[in-house]
Amino acid sequence: MGEKGKWPTTYEVLSSHGVSRRDFLRFCTVTAAALGLPASQVARVVEALETKPRLPVIWLHGLECTCCSESFIRSSHPIAADIVLNMISLDYDDTLQAAAGHQVEEIRERIMREYPGRYVLAVEGNAPTKDGGIYCTVAGKTFLEILQETAKGAMAVIAWGSCASNGCVQAAKPNPTGAKPVHELIKDKPVINVPGCPPIAEVMTGVLTYILTFDRLPELDRFGRPKMFYGQRIHDKCYRRAFFDAGQFVESWDDEGARKGWCLYKMGCRGPMTYNSCSTFKWNNGVSFPIGSGHGCIGCSEANFWDNGPFYERLTAVPLPGVEATADEIGKTVAVAAGVGVAAHFASFAVKRIAQIRKERAQAASKEE
């Protein structure tokens, strides 16, 4: 590992790989577009990639299933090889790295020692806290200890996926291992929550490229999620929304409505309460997303989604088109939403939506409840 001053910049690395200036600029333009930036910002992307060495990243794995790593390597823009070879220096990652055993732990210790405050800690999974954290150990140490130790010198922590950002499946009731998400264990560092089981690949690489490009952390909402990717509900931009508004619903799997792509709300879809970009970017380079392939959203980026009732039970709090909502119903909506940790967003949605429904009621077809 070289010293800071000796590290080549991203542009130097790219150009020495035979990437022409023209291609580099095109790459910057595409990156800026992927980040949702206007053309006027491309120059900043160029400047950032021209002047900075690769960022050391330590990627730890706790209680998890590795779906986040798998999602990460599915990224299409940029592709994972570009990130790993050209944009960051992925110095520790159990899933991909060549070395094993004590040689690996040496790397982690060296990065912590030589680059204090200058590396990013990425965490996939979470830490069991019950019984001294014995349910996950690495190199004879508890994961809990490793996480806390590695976080100390990190400039920021990225909590990849729902395990790291809100606990996910092993933290579902009764949470037998006492699994806790990263932000409950690391209090003195910025923690970026990137929820989803797993997160969308381009959301993951988007978070990294944002940090690299702008030399700062993305703007976060009050749940620590980057606003640029978790600012809207899946329902808001779902292509089946028109059918929801028209009161056309799938009533049973594989029925005529299913074949026509009608709304999956009655089949238990969690799109109305789930903040994520699935209906915007879609999955696997835009091929589809769960609702697009006929199954409702299970809400995998929302906290405690496993415990919000059976997946195929319809949400009771979503006002339907043409339905007169009462004050009691608004109250119920807030209660459900509080349980899933999106009370403020949801309540304001519910109020706005009900007002809208009242306005549209005259022309809306009354179909249900």
Binding site: H17, Q97, A100, P198, W253, G261, S288, S293
Partner: protein, 574 residues
């Protein structure tokens, strides 16, 4: 003890957390080995009291690498319990999903998780791009990217990467170790293909996205699949979606036939001694899978079911997943407790009461005379068995299936080794490639079966007769199985009053990575390490070769408890 004891923890390039300890004999060969799963998540506990129609989603999160396989085993278990028959299109789409998983997962395993045990990245720097191109053209005449210019570019990339001083995922590995045998040109070719395979793997899984909405963790459904089919609609599976699937299968064909298999045979040819190392148990189990009709009809399976004992390829023994005397799990060396008097339990009555008795972290060594793993020890009729690609290929071969005999004979012929070479680390790695060749051909066949069904006017994908819990019996139980890429996987479920009363999962890596049982019998990893020569105990690349040949997947190491929920009450931490 400590002086000659090698510890590899973490074992990297796997899924989950695995620790290996090995003791070297005076001859430099491993004389004792210990395999410990160091993570436990408790999913079976979490499943209790849930809606059985939701179980697939929980179970799928057991593993994001072999994603889909637990979802499939789960929906099959619930369907088996409730007597649901999935429509033919539903079964075919499930087969397509599974075969897609095989092809993607096996290729990733070879290039990204296993190859660096055989390929020296740093040695590739010394390669001559022109000579590399000649080698590549010889190894695979039909692969298009094999010009000197192409390899010059890859070499330049690699050089600058190394010279940057930031070696990232490639730092601190065993580069330069004498166990690496490939010439620089072969190393450069392999590094180039590491990158090609990384680019491609995100393409084939788009098949999962079409039918399941996303990958990892596509959607399944009890009763069939949720992806409605309507050739006259642009909101369902239609001709555009089918064309996408077909295109991805065709790309996969090229990757398997012209990249993966030629590379596998080329690399293997430099390591003939590994055809005599790492055999292990010599007992193999396959549940079989990929039904041409229905999972209750094993005669229709593309992968046949059976057990081979003591390397005897003349006899394939029958397997019954419900027989309480066949599949049983022990906890003699596991951090669990069974009720007094119980030593081994069939999964229908299986329980897991965590009971940690290992050393308090941080610790240096585990003790194989005591409990030392979060994995249990599943056994078939008391035998420790190996599961996975080698088991499937051997059971197919010994069952006399022509397709299996063909691929086995062809590969053995190319490598110039006898059939006995399959019982080895190299055999395990080769078997994975051979079944990928079968899988990619079957993938196209399944696609054609789907199209033929649609042509005949059948568009049903789900059976919803028993969707409503009011149609269910008060109490019922069932099992679901599959052949995950890593081997035999099964779930057993008991449904009571519409809820899950008990759920038990026995996964491939539990079979393979299991600790010793009550008779002291080693699990497959441990057995395979015995006798392996280790040139440098500080750089035990030989251990990684054999362990990686199984493709470990450790997150599956979670187990059930008793129905009363007596969990975690007596955890003792010393």
């Amino acid at each position: 003890m400590a002086k000659e004891r090698i510890v590899v923890d973490p074992v990297t390039r796997i899924e989950g957390h695995l620790r290996i300890e090995a003791v070297l004999g005076e001859d430099g060969r491993i004389r004792e080995a210990l395999s410990s799963g160091t993570m436990w998540r408790g999913l079976e506990i979490i499943l209790q009291g849930r809606d059985p129609r939701d179980a697939w989603a929980f179970c799928e999160r057991i593993c994001g690498v072999c994603t889909t396989v637990h979802a499939l085993a789960s929906v099959r278990a619930v369907e088996n319990a409730l007597g649901i028959v999935v429509p033919p299109n539903g079964e075919i789409i499930r087969n397509i999903m599974e075969l897609t998983q095989y092809v993607q997962d096996h290729v990733i395993h070879f290039y990204h998780l296993h190859a660096l045990d055989w390929v020296d990245v740093v040695s590739a720097l010394k390669a001559d791009p022109k000579a590399t191109a000649e080698l590549a053209q010889k190894v695979s005449p039909k692969w298009p990217y094999s010009s000197p210019g192409y390899f010059s570019d890859v070499l330049a990339t690699l050089k600058r990467f190394v010279e940057s001083g930031q070696l990232g995922i490639f730092q601190n590995a065993y580069w330069g170790h004498p166990a690496y045998k490939l010439p620089p040109e072969a190393n450069l070719m392999a590094v180039a293909h590491y990158l090609e395979a990384l680019r491609w793997q995100k393409e084939i899984i788009k098949i999962h996205t079409v039918f399941g909405g996303k990958n990892p963790h596509p959607n399944y459904l009890v009763g069939g699949m949720a992806c409605a089919i309507d050739l006259e609609s642009d909101n369902a599976i239609n001709v555009e979606r089918l064309n996408l699937v077909k295109a991805k299968i065709e790309e996969a064909f090229a990757i398997v036939e012209h990249l993966y298999l030629p590379d596998l045979l080329a690399v293997a040819s430099f390591y003939p001694e590994w055809a005599g190392i790492g055999a292990g148990l010599g007992n193999y189990l396959a549940y079989g899978d990929l039904p041409l009709t229905h999972p209750s009809d094993p005669a229709s399976f593309r992968f046949p079911r059976g057990v081979i004992l003591n390397r005897n390829l003349n006899e394939v023994l029958p397997v019954d997943l419900e027989d309480p005397d066949q599949i049983r799990e022990e906890v003699a060396h596991s951090w669990y407790q069974y009720p007094a008097g119980k030593q081994a339990l069939h999964p229908y009555e299986g329980e897991t009461q965590p009971h940690y008795t290992g050393p308090r972290p941080p610790y240096e060594y585990l003790d194989e005379s005591k409990a030392y793993s979060w994995l249990k020890s599943p056994r078939w009729k008391g035998h420790a068995v190996e599961v996975g690609p080698l088991a499937r290929v051997l059971v197919g071969y010994a069952s006399g299936k022509e397709e299996f005999k063909e691929v086995v004979h062809e590969a053995l012929g190319k490598l110039g080794v006898p059939p006995g070479a399959l019982f080895s680390t190299l055999g395990r790695t080769a078997a994975r490639g051979l079944e990928t060749k079968l899988a990619v051909h079957w993938l196209m066949e399944e696609y054609n079966r789907l199209v033929a069904n649609l042509k005949a006017g059948d568009r049903a994908v789900a059976n919803t007769e028993r969707w409503d819990p009011s149609t269910w019996p008060q109490s019922c139980k069932g099992f679901g199985f599959t052949e995950a890429p890593r081997g035999a996987l099964a779930h057993w479920v008991h449904i009571q009053d519409g809820k899950i009363a008990r759920y038990q999962i026995v996964v491939p890596s539990t079979w393979n990575a299991s600790p010793r049982d009550s008779k002291g019998q080693h699990g497959a990893y441990e057995a395979a390490l015995l006798g392996t020569p280790v040139a440098d105990p500080k750089q035990p690349v030989e251990i990684l070769r054999t362990i990686h040949s199984f493709d470990p997947c450790l997150a599956c190491a979670s187990h059930l408890l008793g129905p009363e929920g007596e969990l975690l009450s007596e955890v003792v931490v010393r």
